[in-house]
Amino acid sequence: MIENSFNRRDFLKVLGWGSATVALSGCGNTSVEDGKEFVTSYVQTADYIIPSIGTYFNSTCAQCDAGCGIMGRVREGRVLKLEGNPKSSINNGKMCGLGQAGVQAHYNPDRIREPLLRNGDKGEAITWEKALGLINEKVGGVRAENVAFLTGGVSGHVKALLKNYLDALGSGHHYVYEAVAPSVMRAANKKAYGVEMPRLRMDKAKVILSFGADFLGAWISPVHFSQQYARFRKADNGKRGVLVQVESKMTLTGANADRWLVIRPGTEGIFALGLINALAAAGLSVPGDVAAVVKEYTTDRVSKDTGVPTEHIAKLAALLKERSPSLIIAGSAAEGYAHGSQNATAIALLNQVLGNVGKTVEGSSGIPFPQMAPTTGNRQALQILNDNMAQDKVKVLFSYGSNPVFTAPASMKLKENLKKVPFKVAFAHYMDETAVEADLVLPLNSALEDWGTVMPEYIADGAQLNIRQPLMEKLHPGTLGMGDILLALLKQRRPEEYKGYEDFYSYLRNAMVSNKGALGGANADDNTFWEAALSHGMVKLVGSPINISSHVSANGLVVPAPFVEDSTYPLHLIPAVSASLRDGRNANEPWLQESPDPLTTIVWDSWVEMHPKTAAKLGIVEGDIVEVASKSGAIKAQVYVFTGIHPDVISVPLGYGHEAMGRYAKGVGVNAFKILDPVFDKETGELAMHETRVKVSKAGQRVIIVKDEGPAGGNQMGRKIAVRMSSDKVNLSKEV
């Protein structure tokens, strides 16, 4: 009865008075809670530590493999925020969003806190003594060649210890695997210039022509390249460099370019050879053998093959001829095909013809300690491991720093093959897809509470040994550093050699101090040298410079004709590497899920990027859920209609679609790695990431895409805040 008569209006009146009361009582003294909170002081502390005032300690970022130097602001024993270390010549005090999220990797609630041993479907917490004893027992029970160690890219003292452990076991099976790596480019560079990773001097270039290298977003060392790019844009002589980006799907770098040329997927090599021909026609001196190879790549043919209008090819050739030195970069868009090596070689040839080698493409520096030099990975290593597992050749498998169950295409059947391995050990921060499959999971310290050294692969000049040191006490007493675990395992095998080292810290300190002469501390006493190294967060190394040679031969360089149409799978799938999520290892950091994709502004989900023309043809609008099917599998995701993509191409970002890992990663988006076709680069055997052909069909539902971009899209609500101009209205020749 009373319910009927007591209507909504009256209810709101009472509610209103109630909330007013609550609001008023907030003005009082009620929040002073004497004697409720603890105020814990230090037991012992240095004089410079003052409560409430931050102290900065240097270390090395672990969010990607670029190896930027970081400074952590520490207050009351907690690390609060990371900044770039100004002394590091990789990032010079700057930092990216991915690096900023490093504190979320550290404080993550889903971190594993104690060693877990498989008991049926569950992980049972065990002690470290038991876990390490179990490893000793298992590796002792099998032949050495049946032990395999799978890692991501490793360097520094952990790499040296890992090698010693494998030597102690008598097994050389160390597979280094990186899911997203410029492996084809490294091989092509080695062939063309004699070094895998030449130094790209963007600051010296007057024109940059980049074939899909997203060097401002996710390519090799983006923070370093961003600074070089800034100097390229505002050169000391006042002349602004011109960036031309050629790719099939717009990247962040493409969005920053003066001229973005959309190209048919896979025709990058043809475009490069066509440019050489156009340059020769414009009067650039081109060696006879090269001219002979490129002469059939006439501008008309190249325009037809690549879809780039003839006038743009001519303008670009004129620009490159006029402004020297230039810099031509081969990125993932060029190398992701079965003929990726040829594409990369054609692009290297263009650099050579333009005379850039030695000017903007420089040699690197040798590394004085080869045992600590970075080991770069590729997908071929995973393929070999997978084959060995399928043939029951692997009895004990260690996995560290990679998540192959997530990143391997479904066609590899890696998960099934993994089940054939009787004992699998995963060193992990989270229960990711690979750790879930493991028999023993060993929890690692976060990068902000761990000791170690990192030798970055790409550094502007010289060489550098980065120090990683704890910024605070361990959050969870049950975790250990990788170095500590390897040292404990080595003590099982070579007790005499390693018994003097209580922990990895004492090993590291001893290893550094006893080599201080070569590490630039010849005149300092041990403590001074060590304290300085920790204080700077790095040690500069003097390596003999490796000179660059240029001997790209045009002979035998064949770039295949463009793809033929496939009526069943008419579209090309480009798996996009985003600046935040990369290969998905950081997907459980909510800041990264929350930070909008720079081009689409989408958050917390995967999407299928599609050209408006393609969408219209298929009757698709933004927000439609579509099924993207390849020969190897299918995924479902929302469509985002976007003009920055070739009409024959759709793109899905990588890193989403975790089935495990943690509360922020699990179930968000779909995993595009899974549907990649097993097509490989013919020369290097690398997985050709851009070769997958797909068909798209509507799945029926439609959603509202969660994105930062307003409902008016690019219209700016009619206010014309940023004036837009269509690209064909821009006259690039004015720049010359």
Binding site: V14, T21, E37, V43, I50, I53
Partner: protein
Amino acid sequence: MYCFLRLSVLLVGLIVSASSYAANAVQPLTTADDLGPKVEQPIEFPHDRHAGDAAKGGMEINCMYCHTYARRSIVAGIPPLQKCIGCHQSIESVRETPRIKKLFEYWEAKKAVPWKKVHDLPDFVRFNHERHIQRFVFAQNKPVQEACGYCHGDVKTMTVARRQKPLSMGWCVSCHQKDHPVDATSTKTTHGPNDCWQCHK
């Protein structure tokens, strides 16, 4: 009938609201004492023994000998355990007393003493010790115990410290409205800042 029911519900609501408002509303603009609750500490630290007058058996140690951060940080801070031990390792006479034994237990276990916060401001208030100490102790040459005592009361007479003042906004403002000489010698006066953002930032 329904109407009466409705009215009664409304009236009850009103009375409850009004009475809870009344209980919280009045914040006196006064410096009168407002004794906080007794706080149980892991070790009953005798402030009177350390800072009290010599005539009463105290040692007259300056507040800032232990709360050394007060002049350079927004918090006064609890001294690190090593500071207690620094003196007490040479004071044999009290070495075997229960409190000191407990202190050394913490020290030997390298464990921090879990002190309870006695003066706890809400998180939206930013009180800066450094500003007040610099002004009153170093610019105006006020005795340290007097300056600290404006907010903390006569700590030198207490054992375990207890909140003496209301620490409410009205109470803070009542002091900020008074004129103070800018330093020890000047005749110029000024009052404390009254901008909201000085404390609420």
